[in-house]
């Protein structure tokens, strides 16, 4: 009779202790991480971030990424040379729950890729994200030009 009682009290105490542990979850923006898009040949998020843009009407935000060849443009200002790969990832934006005054990325709407081959030929590929909606009318030619001419986010170097 006594044993079950002791066991019961003990497990209750342990439960309470676990419950009292400060609530410290790891916070990760899973929805905005591109891994849900299956056909991507490489992960753009692993490349060098080069430019950012906001489209206030569509309430989206985008980041332009480049491989090591493309990111030379950030330092030297040269044109995108052969071997350059650019990605533009566009997210639906959402209000930052921790700061009134900020918007942060939510689900991915689209991922676009432009590559420059050895002859300098450019090709454009489009990947649909989970938040894509057909109202966004992306025209290949136009999108490629937007990506190639995006003003870069320049910062001083030493």
């Amino acid at each position: 009779m006594k044993l079950p009682f002791t066991v019961g009290i003990f497990s209750l105490i342990i439960l309470i202790m676990l419950g009292c542990r400060p609530n410290t979850p790891n916070r990760i923006n899973k929805e905005a991480s591109v891994s849900s898009i299956s056909k991507l040949p490489e992960n753009p998020l692993e490349m060098t971030p080069m430019a950012v843009s906001l489209q206030s009407k569509a309430k989206t935000m985008s980041t332009l990424y480049g491989n090591s060849m493309a990111s030379q443009r950030l330092k030297k200002g040269a044109d995108y040379a052969s071997g350059s790969v650019l990605y533009l990832v566009t997210w639906k934006g959402k209000a930052d729950p921790d700061w009134f005054g900020a918007r942060i990325p939510d689900q991915v709407m689209a991922v676009e890729r432009v590559s420059v081959d050895s002859e300098g030929q450019k090709s454009y590929t489009f990947f649909k994200g989970p938040a894509w909606h057909p109202g966004l009318n992306f025209k290949n030619e136009e999108r490629q030009n937007i990506m190639l001419s995006m003003p870069l986010a320049a910062s001083p170097g030493i």
Partner: protein, 310 residues
């Protein structure tokens, strides 16, 4: 006997009233002008809930004046006015006024302010949804920074280079290679018209992928860059002029006095170190304090997977 003890205690309490903080004599200073340019009902909310500790217009209740309570109140006012002082309103430029209002609202939303020890005795200072709604509405409609029109569409001029970057006043040296780190998030800060990239070093990216971000491991570094928002003809907004880069460097032992993080900021194209004194970083910490259960980090980072590793 019992009676004597009570009498003694009473005498002591009365005597203690002779020792008073000097702030008490200067209390009830001239009333602060209502925040110029801000609608009356919005200013009223802040006056009622915040001015006792954040302005020259302090309003001591009789129980606030009793020793030792008065020492606590005086220290609140001293510390509070150091952090935020609404009496300075008239000398602030519009962007600084807006920044002050946004940080005030965020301090309210995160339940940091007004101090709960204060609202317990001054229930009128508690804010309700209507009060915060007034503030939110005002800020969203009247205090949103508009991006400037694009100055030069030409880009690809390459980087500007600086010979030498001075150390931050707390001794932290500039970290030059953050542009090779990964972007763990971006923010559109419509409160001050900037757009930001938050970079994480390899230790940070690994910690995110392994789900070990609370606490972040030693060696984690973040760089947050801010650019002015600049609007192109098509309506899109891009990163314009470079504003600043700021760092958080994790080392539990070395930075034990500053919550385990080294804090530093460099401003402008010539990367001038920010901060007047060694302790300038207390400003960083007090604004990051609402995130103390998240190791003082605001950003909810992207998980950056290596697609070749399954």
């Amino acid at each position: 006997m019992k009676f004597k003890i009570i009498l003694c205690i009473l005498a002591l309490v009365l005597l203690a009233q002779l020792i008073r903080p000097k702030e008490l004599s200067s209390a009830k200073a001239a009333p602060v002008n209502m925040l110029a340019g801000v609608p009356k009902e919005v200013a009223k909310v802040l006056e009622t809930s915040c001015f006792d500790c954040h302005s020259a217009q302090t309003n001591w209740q009789w129980f606030d004046k009793l020793t030792p309570a008065n020492f606590l109140v005086a220290s609140h006012i001293r510390e509070g006015r150091k952090a935020v002082d609404f009496s300075q309103w008239d000398s602030l430029a519009i962007p600084q006024r807006n920044a002050l209002l946004y940080s005030a609202l965020n301090a309210i939303l995160s339940k940091e302010m007004p101090l709960s020890s204060y609202t317990a005795l001054h229930p009128a200072a508690k804010l309700n949804q209507k009060d915060t709604g007034l503030l939110k509405n005002y800020l969203l409609n009247k205090a949103v920074s508009k991006p400037s029109a694009v100055e030069n569409t030409a880009n690809g001029n390459g980087q500007t280079f600086i010979k030498e970057v001075k150390k931050s006043p707390n001794g932290i040296g500039y970290i030059a290679d953050y542009r090779n780190w990964k972007a763990i998030s971006t923010t559109d800060r419509f409160d001050n018209g900037t757009i930001r990239i938050i970079f994480g070093n390899p230790t940070a990216v690994k910690a995110i992928h392994e789900g070990k971000t609370n606490p972040w491991p030693d060696g984690t570094m973040f760089a947050k860059t801010a650019w002015k928002q600049q609007q192109a003809k098509d309506g899109s907004v891009y990163a314009g002029q470079f504003v600043q880069v700021e760092f958080m460097i994790k080392n539990v032992q070395r930075y034990a006095d500053t919550k385990g993080w080294g804090w530093a900021r460099w401003k402008g194209d010539d990367l001038l170190p920010y901060g007047k004194t060694v302790k300038f970083d207390s400003e960083c910490i007090s604004c990051h304090r609402p995130e103390r259960n998240n190791d003082y980090v605001f950003t909810t980072p992207l998980d950056i997977k290596d697609f070749n590793k399954k």
